[in-house]
Symmetry: D2
């Protein structure tokens, strides 16, 4: 494997047997699209690239790539973040008694009002990480410093509101399927070879600007949050480099939550695949992508269409993308 | 105007000069798709209908139909529902001090973690109302009773998770534009004639199964929540009936928040357009749809693609739809 | 043991070997203070009772009976309720960037603003349960029906706002201490005999109107939420009856979270001690009371002073009570 | 008036006609109790001071000094903080359908469970500000720097959990009452003379270590949040200095929300009374204290007893204090 950038070479120090001083020395990447750029790899999407994939859409099937949100759903809680909550603010019977708009009992009994509210960590359910989610040394991708750009309600650069609707070629790399496994083993770290072998078996070649979605099979445990979260398989650094640097992926995603495998391969960095992709390469990450139906139908190449919520300043946003079969 | 259904005729009693006893006598509609149906008009979407519109997509432009979410954004607060909130759960400097994962100062200083969380009323920003949002007399569309189907975390029928990804012909009815107004006047109630005249001026004809989006021009005030919410123009009952019953709209939406104009035309019902569309006709409503760019480009017919978050049991869900030009 | 009321006798059916049909037949109690009464045993507190205990206060020591609130603290999450959350809404550095009041960078840099927000299940930390927290067959204590009195924002009777500030004789029953244990064993069910023996050892006699606080020793595990919550020791039905019916306790509390021991002694009722005390006897329950210092000082009788937050309509409220030594 | 400290003299520059360069030059105070002190004026409370006031308690009346919490209650929202919310997580009917603990319909129908949750800005309802709430130039009282002590979940010094239960002499200064007004006029700025005249009329003298509570009469508007918040009367700088520096108040409070009058008297500081009291003098502030009954009974001197919730790291905490008449 030939790793192209020095950024990554430094980050990979530990894995490759380089001296320990390499650990923790990684720094954020500079965007080839200029010092003001907030999009990173999303710049690969153009009117032409969208036109290219849209012109290949075929038929009327649509695959839903999103999971459901419900109380007790899997989530990343190790750092104390709020779990998904949903509660009723108005119910047909309740409004008759609480009458929040002073309409009277008769009106409330006739007009049956249901309202609800939600709260969640931004990285909940099927979602995309904004580039500011993980940085290095107080900076995020393209050198924006937290001290200059982060306020109490988020970043004034690279916030989720800057992520455009995504229309791109999507590629499913069904690693679990290629290995004929329902689910990759606990803590399994997907290698570059796994990706290449799966692509070869699928007879699909990656192209620059793809949305690349990795299937670990973990989704089978989705309704059991503990089983889903515990010791999930995920990507390794080499595999990430293969996608971001060699293959030119615009977005990478997976059906698990952590995306990367733990424990970390890099000393001094507990989430090196995240910092590598987001902060060094400018490649957004999608997590909890529902890939089961695509896999069942052996659909490995498709039009990916999805828009994440425009949460101003946020470091991630939920989305409900779809896959459309192409010719 | 010839109103076709008795449901609507009863509901319209007051407006048409019928006796007052008609007020409050409306009842929910029964789905023509059967007693178990939870989708209502969404049944109009089929593989064939999706194929038809997708085959017309042309080029690579994509119009973002969603607004941004931010603290202080417009919202429906008259009944005490929570306003949009977004807060930081992790910041590069903060993690160094709070160290939520017990990683130590050095690790936190190197890996710059940003996390945030959100909370909101389900009907916030660009969103779609599920059919359970408004019912009549303790029932929702198709006769599902709250007493049978509503728990503390929502409905076990017609919840937002049942709404499929939407791929359909979209039609913009730019009422404000047709009247050469930046924004319809405060409290202006859009009539059937307004819709018909606008469609005629746009040279567009509605088709069964369309996503019909009405532009009032109110979006110009979006960054000023009070101005946006106060006395918004909206749809009247006649206009709603024209869309749902005569035209066969699958979804109706607008760029305002209340969708309908206030005060109500129907005695005993403070949101008759909502109950008419959702509970009597089974037609979901979209609100806060961003239509400014479509209007500016005179794009009145397009492929509408959007997926709302699959919030289990919920009465609405945020979404970020797009419009694709068609040939 | 002589159980006085038929209510309790029925509820205890299973335990006493009575036929199974007794299970689930319990009904709520009627207040001896009349059909409108919302206070239950809290009626035992009078100006005279307060004067009596206040006149015995001695010296200037004050014992803090409250635990700390922090992310990750123990809580009752089995039913999906939100965990304690606390987050920053304003920080000295953050306001300089986000400038939420449009004051400008210089002003924000000079005036260093810190703000935060919290959210929690009402039964979090040291708190008192209102009588509406658990009822039977759709009713709560004194026969108030949920269908008549419960709206979307709580009960219009017996809400936490109706609980007066508590000033009463407090009695610590240090069951763990009397057994010379740091902590009662997992799932240990405290018996009437345990209470009587401990009181005898402490040379304290209960009086009508007391706030009775049971020490299990579980507080030693407070900083480890899982250890605190798992298989906690708690009160049994007989012991509860001894306190409520024989001893005339006004409030009962403990240093654990569930108060009662699990599994339930009563078939068809998963929290029989709660329904017995709250719904049948009208006796509020306090949980997570910090009793370690009182126990360490062998203070078993004291003036209890505490006021719970007046959360309108709520079924519980946090509080921070104190104990004052008496002569 | 003789102002004692140079800190205050500098802060008062603008008011006193001093050159503009004085504006914004204030710095935080150093605690006379040493460089590690986190309590400031709360150090004035001792076992002896508590014993002194407790020994004067007389009779059995207790005055509730707390307001109710409800959706729509007054609150400080100018900076986007979350409004008070309360919602039901479990209801007797709802649990039958949602069955969150998998108990089955029969069990849920028998055991009628009510649960609720709350969220709020920490400065909601009757509450006390911790010393970290407002600082100057990135520091809080006693020179603790935000960069050293503030994490994503609050301050590791002077957090609300460090505030002890308060037992102290309380003094009501009923300014509105002394002026024979129901409520002080909008934006009225209470002067030192107002305080002195009221104290003289009440025949009460302040003592070091008092909890001093100012009545503006604004509480009469409590149920109308807009009326309550709009243009509230409040304290001026001179009056604050009289309380903190000349009179040695341990805590100062009022029945309004902003405590101080706006607009600010000090150029470059929008909340100078807050920064003066909290950051320069180390005196906590209480707001939204319910003083109506004390005023109605002409009780101007009493035992103040109250404990704020121990919210770890927080900048404020709700509390429900009481006043006990003294001899």
């Amino acid at each position: 494997m030939m790793i192209k950038t020095t950024l990554f070479a430094a980050a990979m120090g530990l894995l490759l047997g380089a001296p320990l001083q390499a650990a923790g020395t990684a720094t954020v990447g500079q965007s080839p699209w200029g010092p003001q750029d907030e999009l990173g790899a999303l710049n690969l999407m153009t009117e032409a690239s969208r036109a290219a994939i849209l012109s290949r859409v075929s038929g009327g099937e649509a695959y839903d790539l999103s999971v459901e949100y419900f109380i007790g759903m899997p989530g990343w809680h190790a750092a104390g973040d709020p779990r998904y909550q949903m509660w009723m603010t108005h119910t047909p019977r309740g409004t008759v008694k609480s009458d929040p708009m002073h309409l009277g009992e008769e009106m409330n009994a006739h007009v049956s009002y249901t309202g609800s509210a939600i709260s969640m960590y931004a990285h909940t359910g099927t979602h995309i990480d904004a580039l500011n989610h993980f940085g290095l040394n107080g900076e995020i991708y393209n050198g924006f410093r937290a001290d200059d750009h982060l306020g109490d309600t988020g970043w004034n650069v690279t916030g989720a509101e800057t992520i455009p609707p995504i229309i791109a070629r999507g590629v499913l790399i069904d690693v679990a399927g290629a290995k004929d496994l329902e689910m990759l083993p606990d803590n399994y770290r997907i290698t570059r070879a796994d990706l290449e072998e799966t692509l070869a078996a699928q007879e699909v070649t990656l192209q620059k600007g793809d949305v690349v979605l990795i299937r670990t099979g973990r989704m089978a445990a989705y309704e059991d949050a503990d089983a889903f979260m515990n010791a999930a398989p995920g990507l390794g650094m080499e595999a990430a480099a293969f996608l971001a640097e060699e293959s030119g992926a615009m977005i990478v995603g997976a059906d698990n939550l952590s995306f990367e495998a733990f424990p970390s391969e890099i000393e001094g960095n507990y989430v090196p695949v995240h910092t590598y992709l987001l902060a060094q390469q400018g490649v957004p990450i999608m997590e909890l992508v529902y890939l089961e139906e695509l896999a069942a139908q052996d659909i490995h190449e498709f039009a990916f269409i999805g828009g994440s919520l425009k949460l101003r300043g946020a470091d991630a946003a939920p989305m409900r993308p779809i896959a459309l079969p192409i010719k």
